[in-house]
């Protein structure tokens, strides 16, 4: 082992003071090379000095000064539990509005027509891919996707037969609104937490 490689490895050791565990290869070089031994000793000495840095004396009345500054905040009741009704109401309201808007937009959505359009679209993509010589795997994946979509209307028919044609749409819409409300609220919380994280990192 050469000295450069040895020193790189020594500098990369992750131990703190008294936690140096030299691999046997390093130990052999250390015993044989005075210059690297000196390098190692300096490294140990520096880190030992850092590891044993004593806690400095605290400024006088440190806690008391903080408590004095806390008084106005405590008086205005700014500490709240982790759950905030105001925030929950805000997110729920937003989620409900978005969910209702989505429902209004898609209430006349015809699954059969959509499925036909999608199948045509997939067929055209498949034809295009075949023309440019796409792999069999891609084409098979698209055929599988088309099969899944062709199965959906069958599922709808089954549900209509089971629960009745009249009651199903209302129940389905209600479930959809509740589900969308939940998803939008959840997404809002995630987005908010992401924005906070980004702003914290940028600061």
């Amino acid at each position: 082992m050469n000295c450069k490689k040895f020193r790189l490895q020594i500098d990369g050791l992750e131990g703190r003071q008294n936690a140096w565990q030299l691999p046997s290869g390093l130990q052999a070089h250390l015993d044989a090379c005075p210059a690297c031994r000196a390098h190692f000793q300096i490294q140990q000495r520096l880190l030992a000095a850092l590891d044993n840095d004593p806690a400095p004396a605290l400024p006088p009345d440190f806690t008391a000064k903080i408590l004095v500054r806390l008084e106005p905040m405590a008086a205005s009741g700014r500490v709240k539990s982790g759950f905030s009704w105001r925030r929950a109401a805000f997110y729920s309201g937003c989620a409900f509005l978005i969910a209702t808007a989505l429902w209004l937009g898609f209430r006349n959505f015809d699954l059969n027509t959509a499925q036909q359009h999608l199948a045509q679209w997939l067929d055209s993509i498949q034809a295009g891919l075949a023309a440019v010589g796409a792999t069999e795997f891609v084409q098979t994946s698209l055929r599988l996707l088309a099969k899944i979509f062709s199965f959906l209307p069958t599922t709808g028919d089954f549900l209509e037969r089971s629960f009745g044609k009249e009651t199903l749409p209302q129940a389905f819409n209600l479930i959809m609104i509740l589900l969308l409300t939940y998803l939008v609220a959840k997404a809002s919380v995630l987005i908010e937490s992401w924005v906070r994280q980004v702003s914290r990192r940028s600061s």
Partner: protein
């Protein structure tokens, strides 16, 4: 003895004394950290106090998936960075280096540097390190935190934390050796 979470619950319920207990529990570590990152007592005291004030204000957002210790350290580090930024000492160009030549050269009176002298010199050099390296160095060596805790505090990947620590040590060593004769550092 109350756990941190018990004290937090009492604080949220309006018990002022519980938060005072939390301050007493963490103030030495927080002040030590702020002092080593900022380098002077006035700034360190201000950042230390601000850390606890921000923690109090942010109790609502504290989720107990993290430990209070990690959370308060994270606030502490962010407070220090904000303070450095507000004092115009945290400029992008200066992050990478403060020339070691600006450090005063202290002649060692005799061969063999006393540990206390060495520590003083090290602390002076730490102040010249880029703040991102300084922070990781202080958290690892001075505060003896585990890598995973540092990852959560500085919110960097583990590989970056290890790289920062490696570079911080290398830079520290290089800058010290510029100022202290090599043979005096060898015990």
């Amino acid at each position: 003895m109350n756990t941190d979470n018990e004290l937090l619950a009492r604080t949220r319920a309006g018990d002022h004394q519980a938060f005072a207990e939390l301050i007493d529990r963490y103030k030495a570590r927080i002040f030590h950290t702020t002092l080593r990152i900022l380098g002077n007592r006035e700034d360190a005291e201000e950042a230390g106090q601000d850390t606890f004030l921000r923690a109090y204000r942010g109790l609502e957002s504290f989720r107990e998936e993290a430990t209070f210790s990690t959370w308060i350290y994270r606030i502490c580090v962010n407070t220090c960075l904000n303070l450095l930024e507000s004092r115009k000492r945290f400029k992008a160009q200066k992050i990478e280096s403060t020339p070691a030549a600006e450090l005063p050269y202290i002649e060692s009176p005799e061969l063999g540097f006393a540990d206390e002298d060495l520590r003083e010199r090290i602390l002076a050099v730490i102040e010249t390190l880029p703040v991102k390296y300084r922070t990781v160095l202080v958290l690892f060596h001075v505060q003896h935190l585990a890598y995973q805790e540092i990852v959560e505090i500085v919110q960097l990947p583990m590989s970056s934390v290890k790289t920062h620590l490696f570079r911080a040590r290398a830079m520290l060593r290089e800058r010290l050796l510029d100022k202290i004769p090599h043979e005096e550092l060898v015990a």
